[in-house]
Symmetry: C2
Subunit: 418 residues, 2 copies
C-alpha cells in the first residue's frame, strides 16, 4: 500500500454514504471518540424522547401511561424492533433486565433442557461477568455442574457429550476477535449441546444472523453499539423452537400467563414473554427506542463495510506512523466483509506503556480505553466516526510517542472503568 | 363526629405544614390523583435532572461519566440516601435491579443461611410476584424446599423450626393492612428463622424501622411512594450483621471484590456491594436521585400524621356521603400514629360494582384503582395531596352513585394494570 495522507481520508469522508448519520449524535467539540464499544455516543433524539415521556406521558397520564402510552408493551415491542439487527424473528427477542441477569436466566433454562449433562463450556477470554454468572448459578445448583474454560481456539474441539451449553461472547472484548457462530453452533448441536451467545460487542456493530446460524439463545446490551445510554436495558433471544421448554427461574408476575389475575401459582406465559420478570424501567426503554430509530435507518451492510475500512485504515496508519514504537496488533488483521466475521468493530494494540499512552491520548481528546495487561482498545462506530478521525487519532498517538508525554508521573497509577 | 363540610377541609389545607410540597410535583389540572400507591406523581425536578444527565454528562463526558459524574457509585450512594427512610444504616442498602430480582437474591441467600430448614413462609394476601419468585427459586433448587402460604393473621403462629425465612410484604397491596414488623420478626428469630420484608407499599409511605425491628433482609421499589417514575430502580437491604454470609447467586462483575482485575474467578465484594450485579441503569438512578431530594426534605412523622388524617377523613366521608351505597371498608379503621402501624397510606372499600365505580371516577378525574374481585383502592400521598382532594373524591363518588353512570356499557369489560 502506498503511503496514506490525510487527503486520502478526506476523500473517503466526502464519498461516505453514512456521513449524514454523524449529525444525529451529540459529540463534544474536538473529541475523537473511539470508545463506543464501551459506551456509545448519545443520539440527539434521546433527550427529546425521554423528556416527552416524562412530561407528556408520566406527568400528564400518571398511572394511565402503562396502557395509554404503551409502556407495558415496550419490552416485547422493542424486542421485535431490535430483532432484525441480530437475525431474530418477531417474538424471539425481549428487552429486559441486564445482560448478566439474562445470561443467568438462559443458562438456567439451558441446563434444565440438558439434564444429563454437567458442563457449561466457555473460553478464558470471555468477559468475566459471564463466567461469574455461570459460577453463581453452579454454586446455587449445588455444584452438580461445572464451568469448563478453554482457550478460544479450542472451544469447538472441547465440546463433548457432557457439554450442556456452550456460552460464548461472540466478539472478544479485548481483541475484537469474532467466533464463527455458524461453525461453533453446528459443532455444539452435533454433540447435542445448546449455544448461548453474548452479543454485547456484536449487536449493532456488524450483521448478526442468529437464526441463520441456528443459535439457541443469546443476550446483549444496548449501551455499546446501540447507543441507548449508560446501563441501558439489556435484551435476550430465545429461538422460537425452544420457547415452550425454556423455563427460567426468575418467574416474576409479568412473565405469568395472566398477570392481572393475581393467581397464587405461577404459570408461564406463552412465548418470549415468560422471560420477562418485573415492571419495565420505562426511562431506559424510551431512550433505547430513540436510539434504535437511528440504527434502524442505517443499512447494516454499509455499516459493516465502513467499520472494516475504518479498522483496516487504523491498522495501516498505526503501522505506518508508529511502526517503530513497539505497538503490536492483537486484533485479527482480516476483518471479513462477509461471514464468518473475523474481527468485530474494534482494533487493539498491545504496548508495554499501553495504559499511559491511552491516558495521554485521552488528554489530547482521543478517547480509546485500556484493558489489562497492556491492551489499547479503539472502537469504531461507523454511524458517527469519520475517516479523518482515524488519521487524527493516529497523529495524536505519534505526537504522544514523539513527545514522551505518556511518561508523566500522573499516568503511573491506574484507574479504569467498564 | 359532627357532619364534615368542605370548609372543614379547606381549613386543614390552610394549616398544613406539608402544603408547600405539592408545588414540587407535576399534576395535571383537574385531576385528583389517588393512585400514588401504584405509580407516584412526577417531581418537577426529575425531567431537569434527567436532561442534565443526558446532555451535560453522557453527551459531553461520554465514557468519562462513569467516574467524572459518579454514575458507578450511584447504587450505593443512593442506597445510603434512601436508608434513613427505612430505618437502615449506611452501607446496608443498595439501589439495584428490580424488586422481584432482589427478592430472588435475598431468598436464595436466606435459604443458604438456614441449610437444615425447608420452608419459605408467606401469606396468601402477598403480592403474587413475591410468591412466584419463591416458586421459581424452589423449582430451580430441585424442590427440596416448599413455599407455605397461610392467611396473614396466622403467619406469626405458623413459624416453626422448619421455617428458613418469613417473606412478607409489610403492607397488604389490596387492603393496606400492615404487619407488625417488630412482632413478626421477633417470632421468626425466636424460632431461628430469618425475615425478608417487601416494602413496596411502605417505603416513603410511613416511617419504617428495619434495624429497630431487627429485620434481616428487605426489598422495595422506588416508583410508588418514592416517585421515581414507571419501573424506577429497586433497592435491597441486608442487615450489617449478615453481609458477610449473605451469598446471592446473581454474581455479576460489579459485585466482585475487584471488578477491574477481570479475574476468572468470582470473589464477592465486602459488604452490600456483593448484592450488585451489573452496570447500573443511570437514567433510572438519576430520576430517583431527584425524587429523593423531595422526599428527604419532608419530616416522615409529619407525612405519617397527614397520611392518617387523609385516610381517616376519607373513611368518614365515604361513610357519611355514600354510607347507603354498599361500600364496605376493608382497610383497618385504625391506622396507628405510632408503631405498630395498622394501616398503610391507602384505604380500600369493597363494592360489588367496584370496577365500574372506579372507571366512572377516573372519567371524572378522580384516579384510584381496582383490584379483583371487588376492591376500590385509594392511595394517599401527603406530599402532593390536599385535604380538599379527599372531599372532592368523595363528592365525585356520590355523584357517580347518584347518577348511576357507572352502569354504562363501557365499564362492563375489565382492563387493569399494575
Amino acid at each position: 500500500m502506498s503511503r496514506l495522507t490525510r487527503a486520502d481520508l478526506e476523500r473517503l469522508d466526502a464519498g461516505d454514504p453514512l456521513a449524514p448519520f454523524r449529525d444525529r449524535f451529540a459529540l463534544p467539540e474536538g473529541v475523537v471518540y473511539l470508545d463506543g464499544n464501551s459506551l456509545g455516543a448519545m443520539p440527539k433524539g434521546v433527550p427529546e424522547r425521554v423528556h416527552a415521556m416524562l412530561t407528556r406521558e408520566w406527568g400528564e397520564h400518571l398511572i394511565g401511561g402503562w396502557l395509554k402510552d404503551g409502556w407495558m408493551a415496550k419490552p416485547l415491542e422493542l424486542g421485535d424492533r431490535l430483532a432484525p439487527l441480530v437475525g431474530a424473528g418477531p417474538g424471539e427477542v425481549a428487552v429486559v433486565d441486564t445482560t448478566s441477569i439474562n445470561l443467568f436466566k438462559l443458562l438456567s433454562a439451558a441446563l434444565a433442557m440438558r439434564p444429563g449433562r454437567r458442563v457449561i463450556l466457555s473460553n478464558a477470554e470471555n468477559f468475566p461477568t459471564d463466567l461469574y454468572m455461570a459460577q453463581g448459578l453452579i454454586a446455587q445448583l449445588g455444584g452438580r455442574h461445572a464451568l469448563r474454560v478453554v482457550p478460544e481456539d479450542e472451544v469447538a474441539r472441547a465440546i463433548d457429550d457432557d457439554t450442556a451449553v456452550v456460552m460464548l461472547t461472540e466478539t472478544n472484548f479485548k481483541t475484537g476477535a469474532v467466533f464463527d457462530m455458524a461453525d461453533v453452533t453446528a459443532a455444539a448441536h452435533a454433540a447435542g449441546a445448546l449455544t448461548l451467545w453474548d452479543l454485547a460487542h456484536s449487536a449493532g456493530a456488524f450483521p448478526v444472523d442468529l437464526n441463520g446460524c441456528r443459535a439457541d439463545f443469546a443476550v446483549g446490551c444496548s449501551y455499546k453499539y446501540l447507543n441507548a445510554g449508560p446501563g441501558g436495558p439489556a435484551w435476550l433471544f430465545v429461538a422460537a423452537r425452544h420457547q415452550e421448554v425454556a423455563h427460567q427461574p426468575l418467574t416474576g408476575w409479568l412473565g405469568h400467563a395472566s398477570p392481572f389475575d393475581f393467581a397464587l401459582e405461577y404459570r408461564p406465559a406463552e412465548g418470549i414473554r415468560r422471560q420477562v420478570c418485573s415492571s419495565p424501567g420505562v426511562l431506559g426503554l424510551v431512550a433505547l427506542e430513540a436510539a434504535l430509530d437511528v440504527t434502524l435507518d442505517a443499512d447494516m451492510t454499509a455499516v459493516r463495510r465502513k467499520s472494516v475500512a475504518l479498522g483496516d485504515l487504523f491498522i495501516a496508519l498505526v503501522e505506518q506512523e508508529c511502526g517503530d514504537a513497539g505497538a503490536r496488533l492483537i486484533s485479527p488483521r482480516e476483518a471479513g466483509l462477509s461471514p464468518p466475521w473475523r474481527r468485530g468493530s474494534q482494533v487493539s494494540f498491545a504496548h508495554p506503556d499501553g495504559y499511559a499512552i491511552v491516558q495521554a491520548l485521552i488528554a489530547r481528546g482521543v478517547v480509546g480505553d485500556f484493558r489489562d495487561p497492556d491492551v489499547m482498545r479503539f472502537g469504531f462506530a461507523p454511524l458517527y466516526q469519520r475517516y479523518t478521525d482515524v488519521w487524527d487519532a493516529v497523529a495524536a498517538m505519534r505526537a504522544v510517542l514523539d513527545s514522551g508525554e505518556h511518561r508523566a508521573e500522573r499516568y503511573r497509577v491506574r484507574a479504569s472503568v467498564t
